[in-house]
């Protein structure tokens, strides 16, 4: 089926080469980082994880969200998702690939990355994260590819795929839970030392991933003859609504715990993020933008009439996505380091090479996504007149 990615309109190729160009710029910058060291980034002794790991954290959520299609479709027999489950699975493949790349570019000694496998260390959450991420990638590649292949031939997918599909459900939840545990169990980091961390991660994942999926569905409808349909998009919209509500609620819980307890260590990161601390306030505008976008999106989402209007829904989904990208793809990780655990404040901001490398990783993700979607969409276009198969 891969050959379907090799034919396309002029626009398709312009897009592909645009991505390739940005990837090229990122690769050059990565080579610079490789020879100079991570000192090329804005990270420091106090803020030892930065943009790379934040992006990884955010994208794990996007990857996990495929399960929001798989559960209704396979467990509850919600037939309307039949046409787009594949889009969710392929989005997961692209996101997990980006996650791994972000971890890779963050390594001080990338050539030794196999040490994680050669010296398995079950007490390290990072070890488990490596396992669940790789497992999830393979699950989604296999499930996506075989179901699409079966579709194309007009036969139901082989029976052996079913258990893998069911396995992918708890697996998706595990990738996000394990990633949350990277942060949640660290003594001395008040901002992360919270039992609702994993729950927050899941809520934000199930809001940001499906939002992106809605936007992708709308794009697919525009650029191809394959129409994902109105109803599945609306169903996704409802999922985004509930998840976003849960996410904002959980964030509220964090605020309450920090400020009602009045414990300085718990309040400092919130002060830093939303008001500034000791004159340091780099993240304040971003965090407020995130909050405002979240509130606006929630108002629009909760109102069914707004949600039913696809233009408003697209805007809302973009707001949710950007809001959560700021919150989780930046604030959560950086806010945990600034202020540091001994009441000092060292700020962080990504450098240009760091930003370009990150952009390139996103572009690689989009390239994978484009190719996989191109294949899926072409198969769908061919079979659109056929009845539902499985």
């Amino acid at each position: 089926m891969l050959e379907k990615a090799l034919t396309g309109s002029k626009k398709y190729w312009v897009w592909i080469f645009f991505l390739l160009a940005l990837i090229g710029i990122g690769v050059i910058n990565y080579l610079r980082q490789f020879s100079y060291g991570l000192g090329i980034t804005g990270m420091s002794r106090d803020v030892s994880w930065g943009f790379y790991i934040s992006q990884f954290t955010f994208l794990v959520g996007v990857a996990a969200s495929a399960v929001m299609l798989v559960i209704p479709y396979y467990l509850h027999d919600f037939k309307k998702f039949g046409k787009i489950v594949i889009l969710g699975e392929f989005l997961a493949v692209a996101s997990v690939s980006m996650c791994m790349l972000f971890i890779f570019v963050d390594m001080g000694q990338p050539m030794r990355i196999m040490n994680v496998i050669l010296h398995p260390t079950p007490n390290s959450i990072l070890f488990w994260d490596a396992i669940v991420l790789n497992g999830y990638l393979f699950l989604n590649i296999i499930v996506g590819w075989t179901t699409l292949g079966a579709d194309r031939k007009g036969v139901p997918p082989s029976a052996w795929v079913k258990p893998l599909i069911y396995l992918s459900i708890p697996w998706a939840i595990s990738i996000h839970t394990v990633t949350a545990f990277l942060y949640a169990g660290l003594p001395g980091r008040h901002f992360w030392l919270t039992a609702v961390m994993a729950a927050r991660f899941l809520a934000s994942a199930f809001a940001s991933g499906p939002s992106l999926l809605i936007i992708l569905c709308l794009i697919v409808r525009k650029v191809s003859k394959f129409d994902p349909g109105k109803e599945p998009i609306q169903a996704l919209g409802k999922i985004v609504t509930y998840a976003m509500f849960a996410n904002v609620f959980l964030l509220g819980l964090e605020f309450f715990t920090a400020f009602y307890s009045n414990i300085p260590g718990h309040m400092h990161p919130f002060h830093y993020l939303y008001a500034g601390l000791e004159g340091h306030a780099k993240l304040v505008p971003l965090m407020w933008a995130s909050s405002i976008l979240a509130v606006v999106a929630l108002i629009l989402l909760i109102n069914p009439n707004m949600r039913k209007n696809e233009n408003i829904l697209a805007f809302t989904c973009a707001s949710v996505f950007i809001s959560l990208w700021i919150d989780k793809g930046f604030g959560l990780v950086i806010g945990g380091f600034v202020p540091n655990p001994f009441e000092g404040v060292t700020e962080y901001w990504p450098t240009l090479p760091e930003a370009l490398i990150s952009l390139a990783v996103w572009c690689i993700g989009f390239l994978i996504l484009t190719i996989l979607y191109k294949i899926a969409v072409t198969v769908r276009e061919e079979t659109s007149s056929w009845p539902e198969l499985h």
């Binding site: 000192g39 002794r45 971890i103 001080g108 040490n115 010296h119 260390t121 660290l186 003594p187 655990p341």
Partner: protein, 265 residues
Amino acid sequence: MSIDRREFLKFAGASTLLGLGGITAVQELLKTSAGASHVMVDEKALSAKRWAMVIDISKFKTEADYKNVVQACHSIHNVPDIGNPKDEVKWIWTDTYEHTFPGQGNEYMPEGLKHKPFLLLCNHCEQPPCVRVCPTKATFKRKDGIVMMDQHRCIGCRFCMAACPFGARSFNWRDPRPFIKEQNPEYPTRTMGVVEKCTFCFERLAKGLQPACVEKSNGGLIFGDLSDPNSEVRKVLSTHYSIRRKPEIGTQPSVYYIIGGSENA
């Protein structure tokens, strides 16, 4: 002190891979134990069930007192002086009371104490979170309580830095070697992309020497075996009130601070 085989090999690997010819610490060790196949033992080596350090802050009076200690460590361990806080590597350094003991300061404490610098280093915690999170066992705890680093296994993920509640670890954001003023050929230098920190001078203990900072501290730093009731650290701790950093998070630091005067010592 006994170094077990794994640690010996690691240290040997460290020195040979770095291409350090001449008298490396390893060769020193080898000399004293020629023929020993499993265990390296130097008769002079210091050993303990749990190493610990007591910092008697009243013994530090002038800026030079601090400087001597810091320099002793940084020069023999080839700690680079990069000159900017962003890329900084440090094993032992000073900070204020407030930053050393967050949440334990108050407005009305003695002025002298408020502005007095405190020495900070890795606490060689009994329950070290840095060891718990390391995905490659590059950070590990020895039987004698020393929390060690194997810079040749470290992948530079910096999880240990996120986990250490004391900011004790430094990362080599760039190649440290050009920033070492005078290289000590007896101790390996590090590469970029790995984490490092104080090792309680395990290499000196193996030769029967006290840690370098202790040696240069004029009695301000006291080092010894916490499990031995007759050790000097135990004697000092039983006659002085001492505190540790962030006791509430349960890492059980092995570095103790005596804040008050030492008049009854």
